[in-house]
Symmetry: C2
Subunit: 128 residues, 2 copies
DNA sequence: TTAAAACTACGAAGAATTTCGTAAATTAAT
DNA sequence: ATTAATTTACGAAATTCTTCGTAGTTTTAA
């Protein structure tokens, strides 16, 4: 298997989000994005990226004097991992509870609900 | 409103889980439960509980020389809070993606799917 | 060609979290 | 009654995470 356990810290997760949304990016770009939410120093972002490189959470290539960073963990894998943790951690393993709470608290559009309903019907058709 | 923001640390969350599952418990009991997963010293557990008391995450009463601790945050509130975090953190705020991934990866029973489907239909009836 | 600006590396301070040792008090056992 | 065991409080070490300053290099601008 490709990677072990994905356990990004808060700061690392913020950076991964940027990379997932924007694709491969320079430190400058990433830092600019992060600063939309909260002031954070350039070298802070750089440092975290260097740590993430060591951990294998991101990869980087040189582009002139710059580094271009990319997420090295799939968004899906991270989603799955953190979802499992939440599910077992606070929802006692009940996907139903989690799903219902997610649907209830956010208010998804009719379209989204429709898609989810169809998906459920697919699943129901499938197996026990 | 009763409480502000619930932001339990990892260790605190482990303890809350025990309290949610077992109800009000002594330090000894809690520590025993935690030790089923991983070795952890008695005074460590005690210390975390003391910190949690200060933060208002748990409450306690005296029972002879012992303290009996109870969760002071509702499981629901913690669920909501952590769900939001996951949603915004890794699912880009899309409840649909989260729900579908949760349904897809776990495999809920037909009964559960049925309940969820009904719930969705309720929601669809409700609002925009 | 010199000065300013932008970049990486690195160390280390600061903050938050986790861990446990020790002391003091209370209870239980011998 | 002594001793051993159990408990709470507390301090502080150890660990992890976040933040940034400084130094050195490379590029850009004047």
């Amino acid at each position: 298997m490709p990677s072990n356990k994905i356990k990004p810290t808060e700061a690392e997760l913020n950076i991964l989000q940027v990379l997932w949304n924007m694709g491969p990016s320079s430190v400058r770009t990433i830092n600019n994005e992060l600063n939309k939410a909260r002031e954070i120093g350039y070298t802070t972002t750089l440092k975290i990226l260097q740590i993430m490189t060591e951990k294998g959470l991101v990869s980087r290539i040189k582009d002139g004097r710059n580094h271009i960073y990319s997420a090295a963990v799939e968004q899906n894998a991270a989603q799955q991992q953190l979802l499992d943790k939440l599910l077992n951690g606070v929802f006692g393993g009940s996907a139903k509870k989690l799903v219902m709470q997610a649907l209830g608290s956010k208010n998804p559009s009719k379209n989204e609900l429709e898609e989810i309903r169809k998906y459920i019907e697919e699943l129901e058709g499938g197996e026990s």
